[in-house]
Symmetry: C2
């Protein structure tokens, strides 16, 4: 099974693929998120793994927008604990490190570390795993990288410091996407509750969002996330992405969706899948 | 009056300051948003103008988080129509342009233009107005920039093509921030409706957001925006930022806030101000 992801081999997305599908799935790296979606759209991969939100950084807007642009099914989710490590080519000791390369978000999640070691210069790079690949290939003097343990292993680099992130409550949630109509995945007999993700726009009237949420609340359905995105072509109007507990086949969810359909200008179910533990 | 903003002189934020306060306000540039907030925090400026959302790009997360970290009052808002222009040093004709520098978001909002002129290379720069300053100072061969008309004027550069953005429905909403307790601004006798912005977190229970919104809906108050942000230290829980129509002194708004206070774990009013037209 070929699974598209954004970043270089060793990215946290690759770890997500392992968690979602086991070691046999073959990760296929792409430079940008739109290329990941396009690859699944034209069938050059069987699935895609995309990050959708991080507990410190927030939602990944680009992927919410791409979920709407394409018509794939979310068939599974997983949470990856983000552990940042200082990684260097063999032979480079910590005392000799001067420059640290990584993705801007990763650098910004290790501010306490940089405060403690003021000699270290931060250098923004386009990708975490890619920064390990780069320091191994080009060996910039005193150059190290911040990335996952998996990236260190793949590029045969050494971990100098483990877990240098400021806040250990750092998780990224990933979706597995497959062609529309694909069945949800998840271990047979899993006791994990179901989640359903959907997107809708409300009619532009007072109380519209409240009424939309009433379609869930009146049926005791639990809303676990809401995200708003601007509606293209209608300044200051919004699309809403919701995650609720329940499966789209459940009678209460069916009723809620029918009710929401009456209240919404537009409604699409993005998928039902087992909640990550 | 000294007003902090992020970016170089000529940034769209400077245009926002002119719209908010007229030509006499003195814009004080800062490199990053956290520096803008810090400047107002320590009183080295009288106010700050910050972008909060763009109709194509969405909310500016960093500024939502900083609104919570500091305790300032939102005293006014304005919408700036974002018009992107191709700008070059005098003497460089359009036929000779090869490289175009600008902020990544600006470059991505001119994709049709780059599709039409495939010879043009895109180069990401940290700031729109800063890219004009740079092409004027260092004159890279065939180098032009994408930025506002104001930036062209300030750095004495020429506009080669006007309005090259893909989508003219491109507006950015800005807040004016002043020390806590400052009175709202706005033309005397303005007929523009009031808006109130607030932030709250719900108790972690089913239907919590629905109940919170009921505090507004039961009083026929109109919710015009909702934004969620991760709650630090509590993975998969969220803060909600709301904008409603009404002033915090209005009886219905007072009642709604008292009701919301009962339902929320945390609640803070960020300000009441005249809605931008």
């Amino acid at each position: 099974m070929r699974v598209a992801f954004q970043g270089e081999l060793g990215a946290f997305s690759q770890q997500a693929i392992q968690q979602l599908l086991g070691p046999k799935a073959r990760p296929v790296p792409h430079e940008r998120f739109d290329q990941v979606f396009a690859a699944l759209g034209k069938g050059s991969v069987d699935a895609a793994a995309i990050p959708i939100e991080n507990t410190l950084h927030g939602s990944i807007y680009a992927n919410y927008d791409l979920l709407l642009k394409y018509d794939f099914a979310i068939t599974a989710e997983t949470n990856v604990r983000i552990v940042h490590n200082l990684i260097a080519p063999p032979g480079l000791t910590f005392a000799k490190v001067r420059k640290v390369y990584s993705h801007e978000v990763a650098l910004n999640q290790c501010l306490d570390f940089f405060d403690r070691y003021k000699r270290l210069e931060r250098e923004v790079y386009y990708d975490t795993a890619g920064s390990v690949k780069m320091v191994m290939e080009t060996r910039p003097p005193g150059g190290a990288a911040i990335a996952s343990e998996l990236a260190a292993k793949i590029y045969k680099a050494h971990i100098l410091k483990r877990g240098i992130e400021d806040d250990p409550q750092n998780y990224t949630r990933f979706f597995l996407l497959e062609p529309a109509g694909s069945k949800p995945r998840g271990a047979r007999g899993s006791k994990s509750p179901w989640k359903t993700s959907l997107v809708f726009s409300t009619k532009n009237m007072p109380g519209a969002l409240f009424k939309a949420l009433s379609a869930l609340a009146l049926r005791d359905l639990n809303l676990v996330k809401i995200e708003s995105r601007p509606l293209r072509g209608k300044p200051w109007e919004y699309l809403f992405y919701l995650d609720l507990l329940g499966r789209s086949d459940d009678q209460a969810v069916k009723n809620a969706l029918a009710h929401l359909g009456e209240l919404a200008d537009f409604l699409r179910v993005l998928g039902s899948y087992r909640a990550a533990t």
